[in-house]
Symmetry: C2
Subunit: 207 residues, 2 copies
DNA sequence: GGCAACTTTGCAGATTCGGCAAGTTGCGGT
DNA sequence: ACCGCAACTTGCCGAATCTGCAAAGTTGCC
């Protein structure tokens, strides 16, 4: 989390983690999930395969790590929003902040068409679906805690915070997917506002 | 799907599938996920390990198979609801029907305390979280299709059907979890009505 | 009865997973 | 500056999983 305040040790760990995750993503986008072995990812990141296992339990986990970090960033951002702010406004803002941080497309791949195509293939990979969901679920726990805190409810007793957290997670998934696929492209901000607006309105049927 | 109309062949396949899934669940509840090998599950169901792999790609898949089937049943039930019915009523009813079918606790384990305890441990298993979510996600595709059909929207273009499907999936997860943990126990019906009611109301903050 | 389609199964090779012990390196105390 | 501890990396190895392939056993249908 804190890329600044931390010893060399901690920094290096983060670097390896990110290097591994990114290597996993890049190779998967380029070759397809099945054509990437852990060995390749480790080599790409300059560590041993055994070290890979120290960081992630599987290929999927590594690939989804950035997704996971972003979700946690959003949860963290939510805690920072003023308590007086209506909850859906707060969530929308937190999501915007979280998405603003992580660049999903580092380096020079920004407008690369084949990269985008590979990305779409990757997120469509059935074996990764569960992994993405799992990452979201892990973050949802933090969400739920943040929401419980804000609304004075109890995570253990009340359904409310977990329900909102789950719904937000689902919404983020849909937004991410739609953003990736939409033709013509839509801005993340517009998508987020649209989706959270619908949620706050009780998901009325469109007509 | 059709346990009736089908040859002996199809019936046997379903039986094996269910036997495997249930063996996986039972052994996991009793011993814990890490102490169950595919070999054990296959033996329990009276087939070879190779056959296990013909049905499921992993232990996790086998364990969540029933969960998965139920989610699909709910999606199917939704299609049967009258088109005029308000959407949240239809979804609530479909969920009630879907849950009514699958007995999560066959045999004589119904009120068994240690069984319940094992179940809680099982659903808390991190390695299975993703699996559960994945099963839900697979069903969500059918949900989205059903909702799109009902509301005259387009799954590919509109965000609405996927958003609702995702939200419903999240809601079902929360309900299942709450139902399993709630002390004192709450009825599924009450939980479902509560949760879907909140969703339809735009998830207002409790006070 | 007999053929065609489907399912089960054993086997082998590739890959992944996780414990263990040895080697390295950052961090803090003296 | 020095030293010892704790953390991290790594290689090695065995257990477990996954998958293709071909043989053997079943089922459905004429």
């Amino acid at each position: 989390m804190d890329t600044d305040r931390a010893g060399l040790r901690e920094r290096k760990k983060q670097e390896t983690r990110i290097a591994l995750s990114w290597a996993a993503i890049r190779l998967t986008v380029e070759r397809g999930l099945d054509n990437v072995r852990i060995e390749d990812i480790a080599a790409e990141a300059g560590v041993s395969t055994r070290t890979f296992s120290n960081y992630f339990g599987s290929k999927g986990e590594a690939i989804v790590a950035r997704h996971h970090d972003r979700a946690r960033a959003i949860a963290a951002a939510l805690r920072e929003r003023p308590a007086a702010e209506p909850i859906w406004d707060a969530i929308t803002q937190a999501a915007l902040e979280g998405f603003a941080l992580g660049q999903p497309v580092p380096q020079g791949h920004a407008a690369d068409q084949s990269w985008l195509e590979g990305l779409r293939l990757m997120v469509a990979e059935p074996a990764l679906q569960g992994e993405f969901q799992k990452a979201g679920a892990a973050a949802e726990a933090e969400f739920a805690a943040a929401i419980a805190e804000r609304t004075g409810t109890d995570v253990a007793q009340d359904v409310y915070p977990r329900l909102v957290a789950g719904v937000v997670g689902a919404a983020l998934n849909v937004v991410t997917q739609q953003w990736l696929v939409a033709e013509p492209p839509q801005s993340l901000e517009a998508l987020l506002r649209d989706v959270f607006g619908r949620l706050a309105a009780g998901l009325p049927e469109p007509h």
